[in-house]
């Protein structure tokens, strides 16, 4: 009884051969349900969502979307007090929704103008605006309002066996393929320090300036960040209703406090939310998925974080099963960007059995470009993906590169020659081998390095002595090993270039460059963020255009017949 079993067919009724073929198509393994708006099982068009309203008295919002301050729950309070601009809101709310929707789409209205207008809108008003937009209009809007001019991508680098060597090698490969951020998590949480070290070392081997994070419970995640073993944090979940927040023993204020803890050390961080989480937990309070997600987006903005990961994320099966659900997911990404947040736009969870559906779910973010098209793309085979699988994995690399080339869009990746990949994988494994040796951690054998060079999945590596590794992981935490210690160790053991890359990442913590909205690094450690690489899209011929050296890079694929000599392929 698994999800891959075809649906049982009623034996008595004779079906046509065509029906049989259709029944066996992968798309029919996906689940679809009817809407139930009363309970919030509806994407974005519900009679049970509130009507937009706002009233300001004495410099304070006293009514928000039909509720007076006495009726506010803590989400309303937080949004009214921290997310909406009291000075402009009455004026902004007076503008017809259709007018605002058109401003979002019209290239002649500048990003700055629509962002400024957005500061004065309530959740219901924002919903009212995006409800008017079809999916192409949503993409038009996204193309203009995303923060960073240059699109980027993020990868997952995990191991079903929590093998730090695998994580290092796959991180190196992902980095050299172009991912700007790398994220890991664990099966056995106690492995975290070793896997986080593997991710960081491997990432810096692949390409200097890659940012890494390790998704864990909040205290350990913060600890690893403060030690400089990781460079950013992303898995700080927020929810659209008070009841779900309270179930998790949290409030908007506690999340905002945690955000400040990261900021205090110059660590990049973003919140995570997404459509469907509240109804999934049975506490949608009768609101549509998108309305609740817009509340999350405004809460994130009010908390002062620079960005948000959204696009349903781990609840994608819920919007994916209702009518218009994937349009709502595209809309939530749009709203996050419109609210001037960095948007890491999902496409990061097993979404469908159908390759066509997987691709179409990706189109709005890939074609319009977002700050991180995937958050993340599985840089390991999906069976090794400890985030429960992604919408794309290592098997899709060549397809992705081909789509970039077909459509002339930049999804952040590129084709890399085999010899380069083998070289960075090998070097990542050797660098980690040296780090483990210097730190008296359980040795990494030459056999493991060899395996890492050529491996696909965790099955291709010798098994580690798990108990010894866990003991080593414990000692890393107890000895207070920091990112700076790792830099020293890399330098001592002959990986000076990797040490240099890592040190640069740590330095940025002091300069604070990573606190700017949507900050990433180029391979030369030039920060690209909304302040110095602001999105200046203003219609055809403007904004980010795939051209020049980068376009030449993206023209390369695994097999392209040479025009000069058709008997050979371009290398």
């Amino acid at each position: 009884m698994t999800a891959v079993e075809p649906r049982p067919q009623t034996a008595e009724v004779r079906a046509s051969k065509r029906t049989e073929i259709l029944e066996n198509r992968p798309v029919n393994l996906d689940g679809f349900v009817e809407e139930w708006p009363e309970k919030g099982l509806v994407a974005m068009e519900s009679d049970f969502d509130p009507q937009p309203s706002i009233r300001v008295e004495g410099g304070r919002i006293v009514e928000l979307d039909g509720r007076t301050r006495e009726q506010f729950d803590f989400m309303d309070t937080f949004i009214a007090d921290h997310a909406i601009d009291v000075d402009t809101c009455e004026q902004a709310m007076a503008i017809e929704s259709v007018e605002i929707a058109r401003m979002l789409v019209d290239p002649r209205t500048s990003r700055a103008d629509v962002v400024a207008l957005g500061r004065g809108l309530t959740p219901a008003k924002i919903l009212d605006v995006v409800k008017l937009m079809n999916v192409v209009e949503i993409m038009m809007g996204m193309q203009k309002v995303r923060s960073r001019r240059t699109p980027a991508n993020q990868a997952h680098s995990t191991s079903a066996k929590d093998n730090p060597i695998q994580v290092a090698a796959d991180a190196a490969e992902a980095a050299v393929r172009g991912f700007a951020e790398l994220e890991t998590t664990l099966g056995v949480l106690r492995y975290a320090p070793l896997v986080a070290i593997g991710l960081q070392v491997g990432g810096q081997v692949g390409r200097g300036g890659v940012l890494t994070q390790c998704a864990l419970e909040e205290a350990t995640e913060l600890d690893l960040g403060m030690r400089g073993i990781t460079a950013y944090a992303e898995t700080i979940s927020i929810y659209g209703t008070e009841s779900v927040f309270v179930d998790g023993d949290d409030t908007p204020w506690s999340k905002a406090f945690l955000a400040s803890a990261y900021a205090s050390r110059g660590i990049k961080m973003r919140f995570t939310s997404g459509t469907g989480s509240e109804v999934q937990m049975g506490n949608a309070e009768g609101r549509s998925m998108l309305f609740l997600e817009i509340r999350c987006i405004l809460m994130a903005k009010g908390a002062g974080v620079q960005g948000l990961q959204n696009g349903s994320i781990s609840c994608i099966g819920v919007p994916g099963a209702v009518p218009g659900g994937i349009r709502a997911v595209a809309a939530e990404n749009l709203v996050a960007s419109w609210m001037d947040l960095e948007c890491a736009s999902g496409n990061d969870q097993s979404f469908s059995h159908s390759a066509m559906r997987r691709t179409s779910r990706l189109v709005p973010q890939l074609f319009s470009g977002t700050d991180f098209v995937c958050s993340g793309y599985s840089g390991v085979p999906n069976k090794d993906n400890m985030f429960a699988g992604s919408n794309l994995d290592t098997e899709d690399y060549d397809d992705w590169n081909t789509i970039q080339r077909d459509m002339q869009v930049d999804g952040g990746l590129r084709h890399v020659r085999e010899d380069v990949i083998l070289q960075v994988r090998n070097k990542a494994a050797r660098a980690l081998q040296a780090v483990f040796a210097e730190l008296d951690l359980p040795a990494i054998t030459d056999e493991e390095v060899e395996a890492a060079t050529y491996a696909d999945s965790s099955d291709d590596y010798p098994d580690r002595d798990v108990l010894a590794d866990l003991e080593g992981a414990r000692s890393v935490m107890e000895r207070g090993v920091t990112g700076l210690d790792l830099v020293k160790v890399l330098e001592r053991s002959g990986f000076g270039d990797v040490a240099e890359n890592y040190l640069q990442v740590l330095r940025q913590r002091v300069s604070g460059d990573l606190l700017q909205t949507a900050a990433i690094f180029t391979g030369d450690f030039v920060p690209l963020a909304a302040v110095n690489d602001a999105n200046d899209y203003a219609g055809p011929g403007t904004g980010y255009r795939l051209s020049g050296e980068r376009w030449e890079e993206l023209k390369k694929l695994r097999h392209v017949t040479s025009a000069e000599n058709p008997e050979e392929e371009v290398v």
Binding site: D440, A443, V466, L467
Partner: protein
């Protein structure tokens, strides 16, 4: 100006120990010691990394990180390499699916039923008594219903054999109770139309009729010759709670010795061949007869031969000596029992078969410590000297244990070998290494408990056992009870666990604490106690333990919670004082060699 800083370093098989001291005319002032895993095989250049780490750690512990070291003292490590092998020497084979002798958790009904085997689908109309055989996929309600209907129709159903875990369920639903054996995975291979007997004993008892040769004879009306032939069946079934025996024309159960190859043990004057399948006692007796042992080789093409060749090859790599010059200087053979899946069994039956475990040891006089010394000198930029022979230095270190006196013997129980050395009244030392130590114990525990999990076996070896009886209390192996204020984690609930400093760790066995404890203690006795006595006898004056005086236990195993007491108990009848070393009264059984090197260095300075 501070006095020169000297660090003594002892490279052991598994750990490298360091002792940092300031040495001047007044003698050494010990600052701190450290411990780190040995890098590479002892006595090879790969050790240098571990030595550097150990020195660094000792300096950090002395609160003098990065201090300039004047001299590093290294021991002259004797490379001792050990290898392990285990050979099963008996096996049980069932032919023609004549017997099912397993212990399903929950058989159904009770008593003995003898009849002809019939498939469930064919049930109905049979004349004599029948044993119903039920294949995979049958539902317990349906099976019980079918059996009841057949009985109503006049069929004499006397027993049933099932594929699924349904025996109690089926038995509970029968109008006429019969014995039912279940979880027979290969039930489709049970021969049909043959006379068969099914027996189930009451809970907590074992079967009587089928596990007895004459019981079988009565059941199947056998003559004397036939009875003799089926006696292995009876033996194989002894101790089970349920069994099925099918009488087939050629069916048989055999219990045979497996030829696993022989060892050629060579002494100075003669060589003896001994078959490993003769057991540990025979092997050890042969070694005793040729003593002192010069070399051992295994029969080519056998596992034993392969194991000894592998040990030899490793030594060639380590020393660079040609294979022909490598000698195996000691072998320890231990009898053991291992659970083995019975060949031809229908229910995945497991029988406990005899096996012999072997530890072999190779030694060479040529070590490559000079290469280690050169690398360490380059890395630390200081003078590196290779000091005295390990055994001598260790015994001097041990002598600093308060209360010890010459003559003193030390026993160092490590991972691969057990070492003994003696310092006599004339200041002479003798040292020996014998094969077999901690790793062999782990292997015995692993195989005897059927764990197939080295980590779990290691945990059983190192820590006492307990049974988690509720979320708030455990019963330790000494039957004392410990209560907890906070609930224990769910994964240990109801389980046999090891009590480790990190908490309770479940042991993946279904046997009681007592059984696991017996396996653990027996493994330690057969290796550590036997080897301590064996090694001491080799260094003792005239081979007499009585003349040893005092024995100091050193090394990691001296920190074990029960080994020192087991060894001391074994030595007590010989009038020997035996205790755990406490080097310089502070270091415990650790650091004897490292501290000994520093002491010897300081002594040499004072009296050049």
């Amino acid at each position: 100006m501070r006095p020169p800083l000297v660090v003594g370093v002892d490279v052991g098989n598994s750990t490298t120990e360091a002792c940092a001291a300031e040495v001047d005319d007044a003698g050494p002032t010990r600052l701190a010691s450290s411990l780190t895993p040995t890098t590479g095989v002892k006595g090879t250049p790969a050790n240098a990394a571990g030595v550097v780490t150990a020195v660094r750690k000792a300096l950090e512990a002395a609160a003098r990180p990065g201090a300039v070291v004047d001299t590093v003292l290294l021991n002259e490590a004797t490379p001792v390499i050990s290898g392990l092998a285990m050979e099963t020497i008996s096996e049980t084979i069932i032919t023609e699916s004549t017997m099912i002798g397993h212990n399903p958790e929950t058989p159904g009904g009770e008593g003995l039923g003898v009849g002809t085997t019939v498939a469930l689908a064919e049930l109905g109309g049979q004349d004599g008594p029948v044993v119903v055989v039920v294949g995979a996929g049958a539902d317990f309600d349906d099976v019980a219903h079918a059996l009841n209907r057949a009985v109503e129709a006049g069929v004499d159903v006397v027993a049933a054999v099932l594929h699924g875990d349904d025996a109690v369920l089926v038995a509970n639903r029968l109008t006429r109770p019969v014995p039912v054996v279940d979880e027979v995975a290969a039930v489709d291979r049970v021969p049909l139309g043959m006379l068969a007997a099914v027996e189930v004993a009451p809970p907590g008892r074992t079967i009587r009729t089928l596990a007895d040769s004459y019981g079988l004879a009565s059941t199947f009306a056998l003559d004397a010759e036939q009875t003799r032939q089926v006696s292995p069946v009876a033996r194989a079934l002894a101790g089970t709670r349920s069994a099925v025996v099918v009488r087939t024309p050629e069916g048989d159960v055999t219990d045979r010795r497996i030829p696993v190859g022989s060892l050629t043990v060579s002494g100075a004057t003669r060589s003896i061949d001994v078959g490993v399948d003769e057991g540990a006692e025979a092997v050890m007796a042969a070694i005793g007869r040729v003593a002192p042992l010069q070399d051992v080789s295994g029969e080519p093409g056998t596992h034993v031969g392969g194991m000894l060749a592998a040990v030899r090859d490793t030594m060639v790599d380590v020393t660079g000596q040609p294979a022909a010059e490598i000698r195996i200087r000691d072998v320890l053979a231990v009898d053991t029992m291992v659970p083995v899946t019975v060949q031809g069994g229908l229910a995945g039956e497991v029988s406990r078969e005899n096996a012999v475990a072997l530890a072999a040891m190779v030694r060479t006089s040529r070590s490559r410590m000079q290469a280690v010394a050169d690398e360490v000198a380059a890395a630390l930029g200081c003078d590196v000297r290779i000091g005295g022979v390990e055994g001598e230095v260790a015994v001097r270190g041990a002598l600093t244990t308060p209360g010890s006196a010459v003559p003193v013997a030390v026993v160092d129980m490590g991972g691969g070998s057990t070492d003994a050395a003696l310092l006599d009244r004339d200041g002479r030392t003798v040292a020996v290494h014998v094969a077999g130590a901690g790793e062999l114990v782990t292997k015995l525990i692993d195989s005897e408990l059927g764990l197939d999990d080295r980590e779990a076996a290691e945990s059983v070896k190192r820590h006492p056992l307990a049974k988690v009886e509720s979320f708030f209390h455990v019963r330790h192996e000494d039957s004392s009870v410990q209560f907890f204020d906070e609930a224990l984690p769910p994964h240990v609930f109801g389980r046999v666990v090891t009590v480790t400093p990190e908490g309770l760790v479940p042991v993946p066995v279904r046997r009681p604490v007592e059984a696991v404890r017996t396996v653990r203690r027996e493994a330690k006795r057969r290796v550590f106690v036997v080897n301590a006595l064996r090694a001491l006898a080799q260094v003792a004056p005239q081979g007499s333990l009585r003349l040893l005086g005092s024995v100091v236990l050193l090394g990691g195993s001296a920190l074990d919670f029960e080994i020192p007491a087991m060894v001391a108990d074994a030595l007590a009848p010989h009038g020997v004082v035996c205790g755990i070393g406490n080097v310089h009264g502070t270091e415990g059984p650790r650091n004897a060699v490292a501290a000994g090197l520093v002491d010897a260095h300081a002594a040499a300075l004072v009296a050049p």
